[in-house]
Symmetry: C2
Subunit: 181 residues, 2 copies
DNA sequence: ACCTTAATGCAATTTCTTAGCGTTAGGCGC
DNA sequence: GCGCCTAACGCTAAGAAATTGCATTAAGGT
């Protein structure tokens, strides 16, 4: 579910954004395990059956909301040099994702194998890295392999966030970046 | 929930293993999203309330089962040399985890932040790697840093499994290992 | 402006979850 | 071994959530 809307204007869109907003509000206020569909329905002024029909179940709705929140609004900061660009991006990425809401979003996105939630969300970081790479090339720098940067830098960060087996200090993140180059 | 049992013999243990077995059976037969607590209860001859009391909810039960399945039964194979040891271990790890049930287990384990499911399961791979390291040292080889091996080899594999953004070929896994050394 | 139909609302039904209470059976001291 | 204590279970009823059919609303195209 969580289908692409066939009708993307008017009431349908209004309900989608209303539901999304309500979910985000609730995520701030309470624990995710306490959130229910009827609860979201009431707070957003929509009947539960509408939510079930459009999103299938709670986990898919949460995944949908998480993906929407992860969707980038701006390109990563331009610091003037490739390595510092990547470092800045990674530090921000690590901070966002390791926060309480960030981990919740990751869990929501990975929690449902249905839909392309995980795929979409990993595309976002891929695109950002691609932007950094092109920017580097435009400057005349050597550039870097985006796939390898994911293996060397992004993957370890995500791993440690998910399994909670290591503190994600800025120093550690920086060491990942410098190890990559 | 999914607490360590206070009483670990007799009926309680029998029920636990019966429920676990039933869950594993169901996972083979049907999609995870179709499995319900009452369903497990009936097939295992246990009342639903018992399951809810012991495990809290379905996701925690699934996580518990997944951790139990991931718990290693034997040390990794001894191939005679450190690099081939690690390669063999990683190839098996990648194959197990990228399978349908493997991905489901990962999702289950990561799906619940309650309990230490994720922590336990990442400890298993840590211990295996530590075994390989000690084995290497006993042979007089240089050994390797377990944490770094996770960053360089395990993390990329897990990342690509979870986000489904890349085919996990044996060649790719081998390249991760050789890149690490 | 009208027509078609996707999408929603409502309500009844089914299914799942929770909680109280009595019963069973480990584990422990004797 | 024998009996006590209580963790853990089964049963049942109440409560909450999920599903489904049918009527209604409102996009989007003609």
């Amino acid at each position: 579910m969580a289908r692409e809307m066939v009708r993307q204007g008017g009431r349908s869109a209004r309900i989608q954004s209303e539901v999304h907003r309500t979910v985000q509000d609730l995520l701030k206020t309470m624990d995710r395990s306490a959130i229910t569909v009827p609860m979201i329905a009431e707070k957003s002024g929509v009947t539960p059956s509408t939510i079930y029909r459009r999103w299938g179940d709670l986990s898919e709705l949460l995944a949908d909301v998480a993906v929407a929140r992860m969707r980038p609004i701006a390109d990563p900061e331009d610091t003037g040099a490739m390595e510092s660009d990547l470092e800045a991006f990674i530090l921000q990425y690590a901070e966002e994702m390791s926060s309480k809401v960030g981990r919740a979003m990751l869990a929501d996105v990975l929690g449902t194998m249905e839909g392309a939630a995980a795929g979409k969300c990993c595309q976002f970081t891929y695109q950002h890295l691609e932007t950094l790479r092109e920017r580097a090339l435009a400057r005349g720098e050597a550039g870097f392999d985006v796939g390898e940067s994911i293996d060397f830098v992004v993957a370890p960060i995500v791993y440690h966030i998910l399994f909670g087996d290591r503190e994600l200090t800025p120093d550690y993140c920086r060491s990942l970046v410098s190890r990559f180059f």
